[in-house]
């Protein structure tokens, strides 16, 4: 299980929170360390487990990496910006 292996390379992901999710965690961003290789889904699991209030973020939220929508199985690299997006309601 990648997330618990201490021997692997680790990356730091900038995670951003918006709207209701920002309210839930009481912040708009966090730096999250994940063992690599990792997916957006891995980042979400880590966020939900570690950040106070983040457990109320859905298990499968809408997400973006580096300003593009992605699926949760998209991979992330060290330095990526992952955004967790509440249901879009613009226009």
């Amino acid at each position: 299980m990648r997330l618990t292996s201490p021997s692997e390379l680790s990356g730091t992901i900038r995670v951003r929170f918006f709207a209701r999710y920002a309210e839930l965690v009481g912040r708009t961003e966090a730096a999250v360390a994940v063992p690599l290789p990792a997916t957006v889904g891995d980042v979400v699991r880590r966020v939900r487990a570690q950040l106070p209030g983040a457990h109320d973020i859905p298990e499968r939220p809408l997400a973006a990496v580096n300003l593009r929508h992605v699926k949760l199985d998209a991979s992330v690299r060290d330095g990526d910006e992952v955004a967790l997006l509440p249901p879009i309601a613009g226009g």
Partner: protein, 150 residues
């Protein structure tokens, strides 16, 4: 390109951006803050966004438009911040040689905005509460009226 603004949107400026002698049809969409019977006393809506991504995503939508309707010209603005009832939160102008293209291009932009562009709204109610709006247009979660951090 800067598609976001915190000021009232000038439709005249958007029309001027796309005006061309080769365009015979122009379609405009204005989304305005509503306060009908379904809205339970909404006095304004506060719009927030993942601003950097909004700019990128709108740029991608505009590029797609050029591929689908060659010759179509589009300009648009999305407003953020607190917007009062009746004021426009978004204005899209699509001009094309003929009307069918103008309508289709304009409709494409607003449908893609609703689907892809990371903007959120919180209804501000006359009773002092604030409610995040879910994508179906109806509020789903009632939260406190403390200001959002975004």
């Amino acid at each position: 390109m800067t598609y976001l603004t915190r000021s009232p949107i000038s439709l005249d400026a958007l029309l001027a951006e796309v005006a061309s002698p080769e365009c015979g049809g122009t379609c405009v969409f204005l989304g305005t803050v509503r306060s009908g019977p379904e809205e339970h006393g909404v006095t304004a809506i506060e719009y927030s966004a993942y601003e950097e991504m909004v700019e990128e995503e709108l740029g991608r939508i505009v590029a797609e438009l050029g591929e689908r309707w060659s010759g179509a010209r589009v300009s648009l603005r999305h407003r953020l911040g607190v917007i009062g009832v009746g004021e426009a939160s978004i204005a899209i102008v699509a001009a094309a040689g003929h009307r069918a293209q103008a309508f289709e291009a304009c409709r494409y932009v607003i449908e893609e905005v609703k689907r892809r562009v990371p903007v959120w709204k919180r209804e501000l109610r006359a009773d002092g509460t604030a409610v995040w709006v879910d994508p179906s247009g109806r509020p789903s979660v009632r939260l406190s009226d403390r200001p959002t951090h975004v």
